[in-house]
Amino acid sequence: MTGAASRDGYGAALLDLAGDDRIVVLEADLGKSTKSCLFRAEHPQRAFSMGIAEQNMMLVAAGLASTGMIPFASTFAIFTERGFEQVRNGIARPGLVAHICGSHGGIHTGTDGSSAQSIEDLAIYRTLPNMTVMHPCDASSTRALTKALVNHGSASYTRTVRNKTRKIYTDEEAAKLKIGEFSVLTEGSDVAILACGVMVQEALDAAETLAGEGVHATVVDVHTLKPFDHDEMKRISESCGAVVTAEDHSIIGGLGGAVAESLTAHHPVPLERVGVKDTYGMSGQPAELMEHYGLTANDIVDAAKTAIRRRNV
């Protein structure tokens, strides 16, 4: 899939999985947006409209999961949050294996404006015991990781994005990704850039710019924020000594938060966080917004230089 959005990967994965009778799709009037509509078109008897009622959808998923079915419930990332307490008390707490997908994550969502741009979803779901939290960077990896959820023993939240992004993985490469393990895209020893979602392409561009200046970066696609790959984080921070995180999400509690927690516990090194700086978004084209909120390759380059400077003090 070239030039696709990660939500397309989610829709494709549901179709890939459809041969398993346990798969049930739940929608909240945004199936055309999340791409669960692809499953509905082929398997209407196993796709259920819950209307614009997210709280009910979360507990219907829980009830299905309690009987051994494998529910996939999706809506916009921001609207999954309306059912957060339902996810907490109704799904994660009793240990039920239901899968939630929040599409249209981040500022990158664009012209819909701040009400549709979730910048806190990864942070809040990461706090729940029994929850796996993923934010893959392209359609192929979203497809592969969503398929892998069927053999994964816990509830999950996966964030996808609305707009097309660069293809990072071939389908063969994506098939090798494992939930909970870092995917190291480039290895360098001067600085480590850990990114998720749309910021992975920016991180790769930043690494290229830095290489032109003689600075060699490790770039990691952190497609799984929880469980967090502490072992690999320790290895990389030891070899690079300076770390940058890059996410289209608040710098509080998401990837930056996860990395800060891990570094503090295992191998403290200077950390610079590129992300949304405790503010809300607004309408605009994705590129305009990414520029405005400091979510570009150039911002990552600057952050990398700052982190290296702090290390060398």
Binding site: D21, V24, Q45, R46, F48, S49, M50, G51, A53, Q55, N56, M57, M58, L59, V60, A61, A62, G63, L64, A65, S66, T67, G68, M69, P71, E85, Q86, N89, G90, R93, P94, G95
Partner: protein, 278 residues
Amino acid sequence: MSDNTPEFTDKSVDELVDIARGCRREIVKMVKRANAGHPGGSLSVIDLIVGLYGRTLRVSPTEPKHPGRDRLILSKGHASPAMYAALHAFGFLDETDLHSYRMFNGICQGHVDSKWTPGVDFSGGSLGMGLSFGLGVAISGRLTGRDHHSWVILGDGECQEGEIWEAAMAASHHRLENVTVIVDVNGIQNDDFVDQQMVMGDLSAKWAAFGWKVRDINGHDMTEIAEAIEWSKTTVGPCVILARTTKGKGVSFMENNPSFHGKAPDDEEFKLAMEELA
């Protein structure tokens, strides 16, 4: 795991009345031992729970997780003493298990919890979620061909939660026949009488407007309870039974008294309660 769905325990109305009286004693004892809990709503709902176990629920203490079992989903999960007392009466729990109510690491948690207690299918404690859960189970039954039934017990105060009406719409939209709601209409919620907190108006008309078949009963009359259960099983649903009850039923000073929504009796009160429930 046997292939056959468990059979239900067919009890006479007189037997059920006796069982419910014994459960009332256990409810008050549990709350007294823990010095905390929710006696009022447990005493209002116990006849309904005993009626379900004795007249319709296909469940088995030896196979509490049987995939074909009916589900009793106590959405008003704070009435856990009623559930535990009934699970004891129907062979799922030992008497000693009841002593663990609200105790450290006890299998009878403060609110009903499927991870801790055999025979509990739904983890409650946060109001408004049980009907949605029951719909998920019901949808699964439709897809797998298993004929299990979801029996969901709500409180009347709980019907203030918006999710209840989201679920009521969905059940009707998807024509789910294998789910029945029983509302324990005891007229009191945590802080005060329901009418003081949020007037619920005509509950019967509300459910009917959401596409449900409605039956009003006296929720302490075991004959009416048994008849309503039969009615819901033979009526094209979804069906809701509005059970008019008395909060604290059976203990004079708790009856219709908002202060016993979530409070244990003192020693004198406990003694009196045991005399009244003898």
